[in-house]
Symmetry: C2
Subunit: 139 residues, 2 copies
DNA sequence: AGACCACTTGCAAATGATTCGCAGATCTAC
DNA sequence: GTAGATCTGCGAATCATTTGCAAGTGGTCT
């Protein structure tokens, strides 16, 4: 009768913490575990950071969220339903620009054809130097 | 008169530790700081891990070595003179395959043209699923 | 060769991020 | 409602990397 909750129908228990973490990931867009915890605590101060970590892992296991790497370490999380896009990270100024995944389509296809490798282009950022910093380099 | 040592000519002091770290990076090919320390200690047991970290940073600052990211965290180091290549990391089995940077040439060029972004394709690994694991998925 | 001093090193402690152990709380299925 | 599996908070552990500091060393200038 009752429509199954999206967490329950994936075999997960429905706890307030879990729902809050998922909601925070959806609102924030590629946020770190720390940022997600902070967001959740704005309305529910008691939630422990390790609970956030554990739930991120759980949610990732059932495919509701995914992580990627935008900087030199750590991971950021985003909702799976979010439209995938490339992250252009500038090693000089640290800016993070977006680009459509289509920009990598040929690249992905050629890796697939030549190596049988199925690429997830948005798991790691695309690293380099942004237009602004490239300009500035011509000092 | 004396031919300047490669470290000295970059304004660095020539210490045994520094030379050893550089030599280890050259021999190992994308190794972690820990692996580099281990290598160095095979012949010089006294060398401290923090000395390795500090020298890797120093060597990177003068352009003799570079780091990249092959896994979900941490960094690996390689010598700058090494031929750049792509790393195809499989998220399923963890294998790391190589591919020539040329495979990314069109991709890099299009990011340059459309966004003015100069891409360093080998800083982050290319993440995805290798041919073997892709096969296996058709269970 | 000797002296000076800035740069390096080893060591121990600090840090920051993530994980773990466990006892008590809470979900769900019955 | 009860029972058992799962989850949470909390503190401690772990792991990677960084830092402070006192002692050691390399390069330069007599
Ligand atoms: Mn990096
Ligand atoms: Mn990852
Ligand atoms: Zn920039
Ligand atoms: Zn694989």
């Amino acid at each position: 009768m009752a429509q199954p909750h999206e967490l329950r129908e994936r075999g997960l228990r429905l706890t307030p913490q879990r729902e809050l973490v998922l909601a925070a990931v959806r609102e924030l867009d590629h946020a770190t575990p720390e940022e997600i915890a902070e967001k959740v605590r704005q309305t529910h101060p008691g939630i422990n950071l390790s609970t956030v970590y554990r739930n991120l892992e759980t949610l990732e296991n059932v495919g509701l969220v995914q992580h990627n790497h935008l900087g030199h370490g750590g991971a950021s999380y985003h909702a799976s339903e979010e439209v995938a896009h490339l992250h252009l990270v500038c090693g000089t100024c640290g800016s993070v620009g977006d680009a459509p995944i289509e920009a990598a389509l040929n690249f992905v296809n050629s890796l697939s054809e030549e190596y049988g490798f199925r690429t997830d282009v948005s798991h790691f950022a695309v690293y380099g130097t942004c237009a602004v910093c490239s300009q500035a380099e011509l000092s």
